[in-house]
């Protein structure tokens, strides 16, 4: 009944602004949504598994005699490799469908966002295809990552001059 009232309000709105607003409210009511709780839980355990694999790899490389810093580097390279491999085999989108942020946030998500355009735009050539479009998704992350780290560096520098840190 609530919805019927909303439809009435949409069609009896006095002007376009009011009609559009009422319609958008109505659309919100009839549009199904993913369950936030379920998505959060899925992101938690899938993201956790990816990170656990990463930690396991670090320990594995350390057991080969590498120091921690180098072991972490090799771990990152391994995860990126696995992510690109899974992207190429078209398995990563299937994981992401369930995992959501769980597979986007770790470094595997970043690797996927670079590998996917590389595959898709390869047909448009090495320069204008892969070259220009490989960072269409990851580009903003790189740009704003650098900008925000620059700002943080500036704050750190100023705090240092003031003797706070």
């Amino acid at each position: 009944m609530e919805k019927e009232k909303q439809v009435k309000e949409v069609l009896s709105a006095k002007n376009k602004t009011e009609r559009d607003q009422k319609y958008n409210e109505y659309v919100k009511q009839v549009t199904p949504k993913h369950s936030c709780l379920k998505n959060t839980c899925n992101a938690f355990w899938t993201g956790g598994i990816i990170c656990t694999i990463g930690q396991g790899l670090t320990y594995l490389y350390m057991s080969f005699g590498l120091d921690k810093e180098n072991a972490v580097l090799y771990q990152i390279i391994s995860l990126v490799f696995l992510s690109v491999l899974f992207t190429g085999l078209n398995l990563y989108p299937r994981i992401a469908k369930v995992a959501g942020a769980g597979s986007v946030v770790p470094i595997t998500g970043f690797a996927n966002s670079v590998a996917a355009p590389a595959i898709e735009y390869q047909k448009e050539g090495q320069v204008f295809g892969i070259g220009c479009k490989i960072f269409t998704i990851a580009g903003p992350v790189i740009l704003y990552g650098i900008v925000s780290s620059w700002i943080l560096g500036l704050i750190y520098y100023v705090l240092g001059l003031l003797g706070i840190v």
Binding site: L11, T87, S103, V104
Partner: protein, 345 residues
Amino acid sequence: MMGTQSIAFRNPPWIISAASVVGQKEGEGPLGSYFDVISEDPMFGGTSWEDAESRMMKLAVEQAINKSGLSKEKIRYLVGGDLLGQLIATFFGVEALSIPMFGVYGACSTMGESLGFASVLVDGGYADTALAVTSSHFAGAEKQFRFPLAYGNQRPLAATWTVTGSGALIVSRTRAGAKDSETKSGEHDVRVIGMTPGRIVDYGVKDSMNMGACMAPAACDTIAANLRDFGVKPDYYDKIITGDLGYVGQEIVIALLKEKGYDIKDRHLDCGILIYDREVQDTHSGGSGCGCSAVTLAGYLLRQLRTGKWKRILFVPTGALLSPVSFNEGNPVPGIAHAVMLEAV
């Protein structure tokens, strides 16, 4: 001319042939048995998604011409369109056929626009036969409007799945040959009796992943205009069939029309809902794309008319008007819907 925006054809053009070519997913759907060609190769033997769509469209046109028994020189004009920028799927697809052509764009409503326009040409006496064709390809549409295929993300529940498919229909001035190679004896002939070109309707929805909600007001506007212009009630039609509103848009269009005094609930179908099994095929709100309404019409809907299950239908493909640029610049997504009236005789 009828009413404010409709056309009643004086010499209703006959549909003498129809062909549908689809991808594997569509072939596995509930309408699979109605399609002429189901390709397991998503590339259709081509080298890129765009090339694949062109090849698919060419195949649909050739199938339609073969089924009509006419030579391709007998097709006076071709009216076609697709979703890719600058209609490249259509232009590269039909290039080799060298049929004089018009490129049309109405987003996913293009089948209504091309079939209606082809019928206008025939009814007006400007062509003996005209061919209407549209196509869409899941991968090409994802690449152009959303993300590269291999990118991992979650699709909203209101999102639709672009149909990989191309449908082609040939309309003719003469009834002779109105039975194509698949028509069995005793079956009906089908003609286009009228159309209602739609207006652009914008209710300010900005969510391009909820296209059903963007297009439903346009479908409502066109259907109401058709009923008003022809002075008929919804029961004039056995079915009123929208293009790709999906489950979300279906609920909205029925509610909007009911409020306007037209109850279509018992006779509304949506091609986007018909073409996939959403439980098994994970297609969320349904199918979409120019190909969705085109192959459903050429395959399933025409069959129902020919067998006499339905006598008269209103075919209303719906389009969401956006480009990646308009969306990024914060514009809303207006809708458009073109209605074509089909009758079995």
